[in-house]
Each structure stands twice: as structure tokens, then as C-alpha cells.
């Protein structure tokens, strides 16, 4: 169905090719998963499938890409629209119309499908993706999962043989991600659609994949294989695979269900060993909210939240999209004004403190990391950050090198991949080393390597007496780093407690290791490894 034949892509002005000598095939009706580090060329590979690279992006493509027998050199993206459906990283950015139903019909209108066929297909797609009850809603009023499903539906109505998705679940909460993956699963199984998808959250998707395409980046060759085989040696692997490797299971389980079956003896060996957890050494109170009520227009985002965060804690803020997580973080840096109640950050009132003084007390990495970046090159940005925070020159660059080692000094911040840009924004804010550090969705678009480095840095900061609050959907990250978890729902604090007690018991928030080893209280592979050492 899709055939890459010795494909090399070089963008205009780049010295190195973005993809080098890529050859692989994806047969009809398979779900192929594209994995690789941040910025390794996954998006380029996906966009080459429907001809956006090189027709839209510029640059040169050597070799040949065949999709359903059509050569992308001869067909423009618009002429491939009936064969390839494309869903970009941010579904909102790709919407052309303003209601769900019109959006679903848009590509068919462009392709000139007869009105009665259009009518039928829209109804079928609404049912297939469970969108029937939001058909008349404005796209801006939809939740994240609904938007993503609408984008998939819009690509599907023209009945393409191939569906290409770029990180479809990375911005979604666990429940919404499951909705989207279930929809994709139906497409592959029932409609024989070939799906190619790039995703960092392997723990969510690896079990559905029929084939893995690994894009290592740099000069290493792109390779393909079966998921179970690839996972034995892959440098990036979800917790379920790492646990399997640790326990020496063969064949390697990819889903929680398979792993649970294999884990009977492991559970027996771990039965009388409790996981070692370092208790957070908590110090002075660094953040406090009392009866915080915040609203935008007629919507109340927070309804009376009271909390206190102490130095040395790493607090994870969880909850559905739109539960009020970002609002809470913004209140702590004084971006939003509360209707009633107070918020204090590191002893200062964020609303009344001058920004230059406030950044020494509290730092926030916003959801859109690009908002923080102004300079024309990475080097300038780092220098400006050192000046802003009055730090010795080079301290920001050193942090960036630790987070993302291969970011080029001369790149424009906007040309970085999403993950690299996040690393840069993180480095800028971390550079000031404020006592209270707030991170809004820091793991979006990050690969496992970058996440691991982020975890190390956060742990270090906590040990050095900083307090860290991160809002996230990434349960594995929470299990690794958080000492305390707060769950928000509809603007209210619904649970507040130690990580193990809050997330292990919840069906949505439990990490894979906890699901596999339940009822034992383990959360991460690291905990299991140390417990096994102590047992033997």
C-alpha cells in the first residue's frame, strides 16, 4: 500500500538530509507505528506519504514514494486526497469550517462527491466515531478527544485507503486517548484502512501496532520490524516492555493483559517485599491557595480550591482537559485575577509583585512554550535568559545541553521540533532556579529519553529545596517523579494525597506497572528492580 524506495529528503538550506535512504513497505490494512527521538524526522516521513514533502514544504526528495500505486512525485497532495487522509499534530489548526458536520463534509466537497453519497457518509462517520450527539456543535466548543475524533472523521469521509496521524494522543488525557485509539482500532479491523501513526506515548499504542518503523535520526538507517521483536532491543520502550525485559519474559508482552498473565510468578517473588520510597523531606511552605475562585465570563474555572505546597515536594496536578489545571498554575504567577480567595507563591503576592522580582520567586513554563521565546537563534535566547534572570553567562545553555543534547545553537526557536522547543523553554525558566517551579504539560511531544532527563532534573531541584508543581496527563511520568498528586475535576479538588495512594487505586490514572502487579503497591520498573535485588 505504501512503499518508500531509497527516499532521502533534504530541506532547502539544510546541510544534512532530514531523512536518509529510507526504504520500507506497509501492506494494506496494517497499523504501522513510527517511533524515534524528538526531532528525528518522524513528521517529515509522515508528510512524505501524502506529498506535502516536498510539494508543500519545499526541499528535494530523492528516491520514490508510492502510495496505492501513485508516485508522489507526479501527484500533488490535493490529488492524493482521495487516497491519503492526513491528521496533523494540532487538530484545531487544520479545521477549515466551524461545525462538526461541515468539517466532516469538507474534503468530500473538495473531491466532488455526489450530494447523496456525501449525506450518507457523514451519517456513517458520525456513528463510527461516536460523534452523533455533537454534530451541530461549534468546533471550538469541543473537548480535546472530540476534536481529535472530528479531525480523524474529516479525513475518513473521503474513504481514503491510508490514514496518517501525527501524535494523535499526545495532548489528550488518558480517557480521551482511549476513545481515539478505540476508534482507530475499529478502522483497521473493520474497514481495512492502513494507518500510519507517529507517537511518543508507546505505553498507549504499542499493543495495537502491527509493524514498527523506527526513525533513529542522524545518519543511522530507518528500520522496520514486528513490535515484539523490535521492543527487545529498542532504546525507547514503555514500562510494560521494560518490566518484561527485567523479568526475562519471552515472548515479550506488549499489553497489560498479556503481562499480567506472565507476571504470576513475579508477583509471588515480590509478595513480601515492600517498595522502598524515599519520603520527601518537606520544608517551608512555598505555595498556598485559600478558597480560590476564578472565572472567565460565565464559566467558573476554579471553585474554592485550598491547598498548600512545601519545599522539597514534587506535586502532580491531574484531571481531564478543562478541569482547571492551567488556571490554577496561572493564578500562582498572577496571570489571572481571582474572583475571591488568595494565592501566594514563595511568600509573595503574585498580583502585586513586579515581574522582575516575581521571576526570582516563581517560574512557569506555559502550555505553549513558544510564547516564552523571542530571540532569532537558540544561542541568543539562552544569552537573553541569562540576562533576564541575572545568572552567569552560559548557565541556560548548560541546562539545555542536559535536556536536549543535540540542539543546534544557530537554529531559530520556531524551527525546532515541538519537543526541542519545550526543552528550550524549560531551560530558560529553570535557569532562574526559582524556589517554586510550575510546569504546564511539560511532557507533550517529549520522547522517553528527554522525559528521563527531565525527571532527573526535577528530582535534583526537589532535593535542593525547590517545590515543583506539574500539570500533566502522563501517568508514567507522575509515577516516576511525583511525591504527591492532586486531582481536579470541574474546578474542585477531588483528591489530594501521596502518589501511590491516589493513582494506584484509580482505573484511569494507574500506571502500567501498578496494573500488572496489582494488588502489590509498585508503581515503576525502578521500584521493582530494587525490590528484586533486595529479595535475592
Amino acid at each position: 500500500m505504501i512503499e518508500f524506495d531509497r527516499v532521502t529528503v533534504t530541506y532547502d538550506g539544510a546541510t544534512e538530509p532530514a531523512l536518509r535512504d529510507v526504504s520500507f513497505t506497509v501492506p494494506e490494512g496494517e497499523l504501522a507505528l513510527v517511533i524515534g527521538r524528538t526531532g528525528s524526522g518522524k513528521s517529515t516521513l509522515l508528510r512524505a506519504i501524502n506529498g506535502l514533502v516536498p510539494h508543500f514544504s519545499g526541499g528535494t526528495l530523492a528516491g520514490r514514494v508510492l502510495v496505492n500505486g501513485r508516485d508522489t512525485r507526479e501527484y500533488r497532495p490535493r490529488d492524493l486526497a482521495d487516497v491519503v487522509g492526513m491528521v496533523g499534530q494540532d487538530p484545531m489548526a487544520g479545521f477549515v469550517t466551524d461545525t462538526v458536520e461541515d468539517e466532516l463534509a469538507y474534503s468530500m466537497e473538495s473531491l466532488g462527491v455526489a450530494p447523496d453519497v456525501m449525506r450518507r457518509r457523514v451519517e456513517e462517520t458520525l456513528d463510527l466515531l461516536g460523534l452523533a450527539d455533537v454534530r451541530d456543535r461549534a468546533l471550538t466548543s469541543l473537548s480535546g478527544g472530540q476534536r481529535q475524533r472530528t479531525a480523524i472523521g474529516a479525513a475518513l469521509t473521503s474513504h481514503p485507503a491510508v490514514l496518517v496521524l501525527d501524535e494523535p494522543t499526545s495532548a489528550l488525557d488518558p480517557q480521551a486517548a482511549e476513545e481515539v485509539l478505540a476508534a482507530l482500532q475499529r478502522l483497521v479491523h473493520d474497514l481495512n484502512v492502513t494507518v500510519v501513526m507517529a507517537e511518543h506515548r508507546l505505553e498507549r499504542v504499542i499493543q495495537y501496532a502491527d509493524r514498527v518503523v523506527e526513525v533513529p535520526g542522524g545518519s543511522a538507517a530507518v528500520s522496520t520490524g514486528l513490535p515484539a521483536e523490535r521492543m527487545v532491543t529498542a532504546p525507547v520502550a514503555p514500562p510494560v516492555v521494560e518490566l518484561g525485559r527485567l523479568a526475562g519474559w519471552s515472548p515479550l508482552p506488549l499489553s497489560v493483559r498479556d503481562a499480567r498473565r506472565a507476571a504470576v510468578s513475579l508477583r509471588g517473588r515480590l509478595g513480601d517485599v515492600a517498595p522502598l520510597r524515599s519520603v520527601a523531606a518537606t520544608g517551608a511552605e512555598l505555595a498556598r491557595c485559600r478558597d480560590l475562585v476564578i472565572g472567565y465570563g460565565s464559566v467558573t474555572a476554579l471553585r474554592g480550591v485550598t491547598l498548600s505546597i512545601k519545599a522539597g515536594e514534587v506535586v502532580a496536578l491531574m484531571g481531564r482537559n478543562g478541569a482547571g489545571k492551567s488556571t490554577l498554575l496561572n493564578a500562582l504567577v498572577g496571570i489571572v485575577t481571582p474572583r475571591s480567595g488568595t494565592a501566594t507563591a514563595a511568600g509573595t503576592d503574585p498580583l502585586r509583585t513586579r515581574p522582575s522580582k516575581l521571576v526570582k520567586a516563581v517560574g512557569l513554563v506555559p502550555q505553549e512554550p513558544a510564547d516564552l521565546l523571542y530571540a532569532a537563534t537558540v544561542a541568543d535566547e539562552c544569552a537573553a535568559a541569562d540576562a533576564d534572570f541575572r545568572m552567569p553567562a552560559g548557565s541556560c545553555r548548560a541546562l539545555l545541553t542536559r535536556l536536549a543534547p543535540d540542539v543546534d545553537d544557530k537554529m531559530h526557536p520556531r524551527d525546532l521540533s515541538e519537543g526541542q522547543r519545550l526543552c528550550l523553554a524549560l531551560a530558560v525558566v529553570l535557569c532562574g532556579a526559582p524556589p517554586l517551579l510550575l510546569l504546564d504539560e511539560p511532557t507533550r511531544g517529549l520522547d522517553y529519553g528527554a522525559k528521563r532527563r527531565l525527571v532527573e532534573i526535577l528530582r535534583e531541584l526537589a532535593t535542593a529545596g525547590h517545590a515543583v508543581v506539574l500539570s500533566t496527563h502522563d501517568v508514567e511520568m507522575v509515577a516516576e517523579v511525583a511525591t504527591r498528586v492532586l486531582v481536579l475535576a470541574e474546578g474542585e479538588l477531588v483528591s489530594d494525597g501521596e502518589t501511590a495512594t491516589v493513582i494506584a487505586g484509580s482505573p484511569a490514572f494507574a500506571p502500567q506497572v501498578a496494573k500488572i502487579l496489582a494488588p502489590l503497591p509498585f508503581l515503576t520498573v525502578g521500584e521493582v528492580a530494587t525490590a528484586l535485588e533486595r529479595a535475592s
Binding site: 486526497a81 474534503s107 506555559p366 510564547d371
Partner: protein, 347 residues
């Protein structure tokens, strides 16, 4: 199209009674038929703009009035002597009732035309307008609508970026730290949207010989030119009536022909197009009748469209009044709200 008719009607008269009547008619239709969408409040905004126009007109007239018209002096402002090069312009001085009234009526005419545009805005959404565009113009239309929807997005972006500046510890923003990120963000978004539209088949065209494409282009240009000429002539009496109508007719014919030829290149179809049935025809017809009655009245030289003098009590001519009242029809015949009105979209 209905609103256009009413605006044409307004441009043909300076009779305050008729103008106020047109205003009342558009106001009534808007309040009867608007939805609760964000653009539905634009009628009030245009009404305010109209009031400002009248005010400015009257004040300027009072300040700059030359004593050329009328002799009933209302009050006298202190006169400021101007240098010689400003000969003929007078600042201050005596203000006559006639001059003020003329200014008021002129201002009113402009204000009523503005309100007609406001009515069109209040009753139609830009995206629905797009749906009723002829196929040949569709691609241009999409570009315009996308551009329109970007404006509110820019405001949101600017607000977010201003907030983010706090996080870098900066109090004052420069062009570099505010406008640049906003513009870069907008550019990124448009590139992404363009990629999405391209990969969804936007701009697929059927093969058409080159010569035919050229003919289409020339036809469109000539047609538009003809229409412009005709409309201008009709509204200003600067050309003989038959000549103006002929220019308009030829222009319309050419443009329609070009659209029809252009349509062959476009392979797209429409999803659930809005019906164009009797009510829609009635609505457009009522607007056209209102305009038509005014133009005929002007052509026949019926008394009362243009006042003999500013101080005459305005007469009420029968034909134009009936014509304007016909403009009320949409309030009754337009399809009900839930059927998504679009008859006024064409306005």
C-alpha cells in the same frame, strides 16, 4: 441582496420622512429575524456609527458654514479670521437653520445606508455567504473568510503572549517581544492550515484548455467593469438612464457567462446546500422592489424625493412609501430561525 436594495433606495432620496421610514423597516426586520450569533449585534454598532456620522456632519457644517444658504440666523459663533490662502473657507460666524438642516439630512442619508449594511451583517454569517457564492469564485471566497477568522485569533494570541512576558520578568514589551511572536504564530498557523487544506483536496480542478481560461478571465473583468459603470450611473444620474441600464445589463450578462464557464473547471460539490425557494425569492424581490420604486419615482420626477428647500415641511409621496414598506416583507416571509436563514446572505 435585500439590504442592498434598501441601501439603493436610501441613496435616491433626501426626504427625512422616507429615510426614517427605511431605518425603521431595516431595524424591524433585523430585530425580528436575527439569531444569537456573535455577528448579530453588528446592527446596533452600525446604528451608532450612523449617529456619529450625523453628529460630525452637523458640527462641521456649523463650524465651517459659509453664509451661502438661507438667511434665518440661529446663533453666531465667534469668527476666526483665516489667512488668505484659505480663501472661501470660513471658521465660525453665523449659523443658519437651512445649513444645519441640509447637513442633518445629508448625514441621515449616509447613516441609513450604513444601517442597511449593518442589517446585512447582522443577518448573515461570512461562512454562510461563502456557501452561496458561485463555484467559480469559491476559492477566492475561502481565502477571504479564513483571513476574517484570523483576526480574533490574533487578539487572543497577543493577550497570551503579553501574559507570558511576565514569566520572563520583563515589564515593558517591545515590538520584538510582542508583535513578533504574534505574527510568527499567525504565520505558523496559516502555513499549517494551508497544508491541511491542501492535503484535503482544496483546489482540485478539472483540466481546461488554456484559451478558455483566458476568455473566462477577460469576461469576468469586463463584466465587473460594466456592472460598476451601470450602478454608478444609475445612482448619480450622470449618464442617461437607458445608457446606464444597458451598461448594467451587458456587465451582468458577461459576469454571469464567465461564472458559468468558470464553473466547468470546478469539480467540487456542496454538502446540504441551503434551499433557494419561494421565501428566498420573495425576500430578494421585496428589496429589489423597494429600490425599483425609488428609481422609477426619480425617473418620473415625482415630487418629494428631493426637497425644494430645506425649510419646507417634507411631503410624503405615495409610490416610494409603498415601495419601502414592501421591504418589511422579510420579517414575515423569511424562513424561520431553525431553518437557518440564508436569504439575506446574498446581501
Amino acid at each position: 441582496m435585500w439590504a442592498l436594495g434598501m441601501a439603493v433606495a436610501a441613496s435616491r432620496t433626501r426626504n427625512p420622512v422616507l429615510l426614517v421610514l427605511i431605518l425603521a423597516v431595516t431595524g424591524f426586520v433585523v430585530s425580528a429575524r436575527r439569531s444569537d450569533a456573535p455577528w448579530a449585534h453588528s446592527y446596533a454598532a452600525f446604528l451608532k456609527l450612523g449617529l456619529v456620522v450625523i453628529g460630525v456632519r452637523v458640527v462641521l457644517q456649523a463650524l465651517l458654514s459659509t453664509r451661502s444658504q438661507g438667511n434665518i440666523v440661529l446663533f453666531t459663533l465667534p469668527e476666526i479670521p483665516l489667512p488668505d490662502w484659505a480663501n472661501g473657507v470660513k471658521l465660525g460666524g453665523e449659523v443658519t437653520l437651512e445649513a444645519l438642516l441640509t447637513a442633518l439630512y445629508d448625514g441621515l442619508q449616509l447613516a441609513v445606508m450604513l444601517c442597511c449594511i449593518g442589517a446585512a451583517n447582522a443577518l448573515a454569517s461570512p461562512r454562510r455567504l461563502l456557501k452561496s457564492l458561485p463555484g467559480a469564485l469559491y476559492e477566492m471566497g475561502v481565502a477571504c473568510v479564513v483571513a476574517l477568522t484570523f483576526a480574533p485569533q490574533l487578539v487572543t494570541d497577543a493577550r497570551r503572549i503579553r501574559a507570558a512576558r511576565r514569566l520572563r520578568g520583563r515589564t515593558r514589551g517591545s515590538f520584538r517581544t510582542t508583535a513578533m511572536p504574534v505574527l510568527e504564530g499567525a504565520l505558523d498557523r496559516s502555513v499549517e492550515l494551508a497544508a491541511a487544506m491542501d492535503s484535503r483536496g482544496y483546489g482540485r480542478t478539472a483540466q481546461v484548455p488554456r484559451r478558455q481560461r483566458r476568455i473566462t478571465g477577460v469576461c469576468v473583468l469586463l463584466g465587473l467593469l460594466g456592472i460598476l459603470l451601470g450602478v454608478y450611473a444609475l445612482l448619480t444620474d450622470s449618464m442617461a438612464f437607458p445608457l446606464a441600464t444597458t451598461a448594467l445589463a451587458i456587465g451582468l450578462l458577461l459576469a454571469v457567462g464567465a461564472m458559468a464557464i468558470g464553473r466547468q473547471r470546478v469539480t467540487r460539490t456542496r454538502y446540504r446546500p441551503d434551499p433557494w425557494a419561494l421565501p428566498e425569492w420573495l425576500v430578494v424581490g421585496s428589496g429589489a422592489l423597494a429600490a425599483g420604486s425609488m428609481i422609477t419615482a426619480a425617473a418620473l420626477g415625482i415630487e418629494g424625493l428631493v426637497l425644494a428647500g430645506p425649510l419646507v415641511v417634507p411631503p410624503v409621496p405615495l409610490l416610494p412609501v409603498v415601495g419601502i414598506l414592501l421591504g418589511l416583507a422579510p420579517a414575515v416571509v423569511a424562513p424561520p430561525l431553525q431553518a437557518r436563514r440564508r436569504e439575506l446572505v446574498a446581501a
